[in-house]
């Protein structure tokens, strides 16, 4: 309770919502109120832990081998004198996975700038090209190596899924990068890319939130960031306390989620047995 500003703001929003509710809650879709509370609670949990981290409280996060391997992979490329290939997926910036992929690219670019290792980023969307280019440029400037940055590090190939896969495979076969990163949204091309990378002996680190592609990456890559690990990568790599607080917050949310699942099973069981007249599924189902 030592974060007075947080509790004051949270209480204020809650009271404002209660007043709005009592006034007849115009335009509010009542069936979605449970989801609304869930979002408020989740956002509040995240903000609480972010504030906690901001105040300097220590945040423990478990080690993720895939994230520790980022530096190792770039280091290996440097030792071998080979480039690093970074594939930010095949979707546009309207996908949160692509945004996460571009953010991680910034961290990888910092490493390549530091080690003076060539970086090659083929992209499948023009807007991603612009965003990724800015991210890489900033990373090189922050590392004090703007001289090593050139715009063509991030280059456009094609919008088409398999043409892009063919293009990236061609780059892999010709340039033989020592480290390949797949961080973003992938579809059927994931295995084509990862197996080609495997065949050239590159160390491969994948990260995606596409559930159907995770098995392919796990099979063909050395490390895979699965789902939430992928979104937490930016926090881990930047070591920014605010971002780390957010990761801790989402871990707490997961615990709360498990609690809700167990409670819902019990309540549903009681309802089925006729002991209570309350159907939890009505509230939990998205309307």
């Amino acid at each position: 309770m030592n974060d007075k500003k947080f509790w004051f703001t949270f209480g204020g929003i809650l009271i404002a919502f209660i007043i709005y509710w009592l006034l007849g809650h115009p335009h509010f879709i009542v069936e979605r109120v449970a989801m609304f509370y869930a979002i408020l609670l989740s956002a509040a949990t995240l903000i609480y832990f972010i504030n906690k981290a901001k105040r300097g409280e220590e945040i423990y996060l478990r080690t993720i081998p895939g994230l520790k391997a980022f530096e190792e992979a770039v280091g290996r490329s440097t030792e071998m004198g080979k480039p690093v290939l970074y594939v930010p997926g095949i979707q546009d910036m309207d996908q949160v996975e692509t945004v996460a992929g571009v953010i991680i690219l910034g961290h990888v670019a910092k490493m390549t700038a530091q080690y003076e290792t060539p970086l090659n980023v083929p992209v499948a969307r023009s807007i991603v090209m612009k965003a990724a280019r800015e991210s890489v440029r900033e990373a090189y400037i922050m590392q004090g190596r703007p001289d090593l940055f050139h715009e063509d590090m991030v280059h456009y190939l094609t919008d088409d899924q398999f043409a892009y896969a063919a293009g990236v495979n061609g780059i892999m076969m010709r340039e033989k990068p020592a480290a390949v990163f797949y961080q973003g949204k992938f579809y059927a091309e994931s295995l084509i890319l990862a197996e080609t990378g495997n065949s050239i002996g590159a160390i491969q680190i994948a990260g995606t939130a596409s559930p159907a592609q995770i098995p392919f990456f796990v099979t063909a890559c050395d490390y895979t960031l699965i789902g939430e690990e992928f979104f937490a990568a930016s926090a881990y790599l930047s070591k920014d306390p605010q971002l780390l607080g957010g990761v801790k917050g989402s871990d707490i949310l997961k615990v709360m989620m498990i609690g809700v699942i167990i409670l819902s099973i019990v309540l549903r069981l009681f309802n089925d047995l006729g002991w209570i007249n309350f159907d939890i599924l009505k509230y939990l189902t998205i309307q």
């Binding site: 945004v99 969307r125 023009s126 280059h155 010709r174 197996e195 979104f231 937490a232 971002l243």
Partner: protein, 343 residues
């Protein structure tokens, strides 16, 4: 700095909040902004951005050729392909047809030419010519790529006495018209090339599966056994394998487990022997039905693996992904995550 830092963060915060809370509000303007306007704005921006991508592609490929970089020959194909697609998409119609308004005085000669054009018999062409009426000309199905080619065909018909005219496909429709040049390029070059890449998956899945299924540890063994059960359970032969046969296999496998665990011959023999006796007694008692007990019948077993452990694992990952997406979105909306603007 203000334009490159504060303004983008403010836009992300505003649009993000509107999109998030727009889901809970039944207000037509907000709903239309979230569902239509915002996505249309994005599409418009993306359409303009494609020029940047195309120019970047051309620049790099030209540089490769001019500087004679390694493997520069491939760039010729890239540039050639680009300009060919651009030309047939924007500059050439590539789709012309011939309409016959009347067969004239010599329908037999016209029918011969029509048969050559559409590839049918002369008799069939005569029947088609007989169907021509005023306001309902005969449109020959053959699509010509160039004006020269279609004019030659039309002139032949006119010389044989028919009243024929050239009909070019309208702009826009030339992309989708069957057998047009663009259509030909799409279905005869692009689609087979894409299909070839996609087909590679069949071989890559095999090599990936080989690596995944190699028995190295408990998890890999579990994966191998589950994979075999799922594969066998989903093909017709799987339903022909008696559950009793599978039970005997289970008994033998349990023998392997016991032997690896205790390394004791008597114990292993007792486990296998007891298992075989129990399964045989149960088989005689139940009358050896092929699909009973259901837990050992491959189609039922694969369905259970697919619907219970598989879905449970997938849902756990999905919940994690959902929370990750939510946490990331909140970080953007609140301006905590600023890496996307380079901070």
């Amino acid at each position: 700095m203000f334009w490159k830092r504060q303004i983008p963060i403010a836009i992300v915060a505003l649009v993000g909040t509107l999109t998030l809370f727009g889901w809970f509000v039944d207000q037509p303007d907000i709903k239309s902004f979230v569902d239509d306007d915002a996505t249309q704005w994005y599409d418009i921006l993306a359409s303009f951005a494609i020029f940047l991508g195309a120019l970047n592609l051309l620049k790099l490929q030209f540089q490769k050729i001019i500087k004679r970089k390694r493997n520069w020959q491939y760039s010729i194909f890239a540039i050639g392909g680009f300009f060919f697609a651009f030309t047939v998409g924007f500059l050439m119609r590539g789709a012309y047809t011939v309409n016959i308004n009347s067969a004239g005085d010599n329908p037999n000669a016209v029918a011969q030419i029509v048969a050559g054009e559409i590839g049918g018999s002369i008799e069939a062409s005569e029947v088609l010519l007989g169907l021509i009426e005023e306001e309902a000309p005969l449109m020959l199905e053959k699509v010509h790529f160039t004006g020269k080619s279609v004019n030659e065909a039309a002139n032949q018909l006119i010389e044989s006495g028919a009243d024929a005219e050239v009909i070019p496909a309208s702009w826009g429709a030339h992309l989708t018209k069957k057998d047009s040049l663009f259509n030909w390029m799409f279905f005869k070059i692009f689609t087979p090339l894409s299909a070839t890449m996609f087909a590679l998956l069949a071989f890559l899945v095999a090599s990936a599966a080989y690596r995944a299924f190699r028995i190295r540890n408990f998890e890999a063994t579990l994966l191998l056994v589950s994979g075999i059960i799922i594969m066998l359970g989903r093909v017709p032969i799987g339903s022909k394998i008696s559950s009793w046969f599978v039970l005997y296999i289970f008994v033998l496998l349990s023998g392997i487990v016991v032997n690896s665990w205790k390394n004791n011959r008597i114990l292993t023999f007792s486990t296998v022997g007891l298992g075989v006796i129990l399964v045989t007694i149960a088989g005689f008692y139940m009358g050896w039905p092929i699909d009973k007990p259901a837990f050992a019948y491959l189609p039922s077993l694969q369905e259970w693996i697919y619907l219970v452990p598989n879905i449970a694992g997938a849902r756990a990952i999905m919940i994690g992904i959902g929370l990750g997406v939510f946490a990331t979105s909140i970080r953007y909306i609140l301006g905590i995550e600023k890496s996307y603007i380079g901070e």
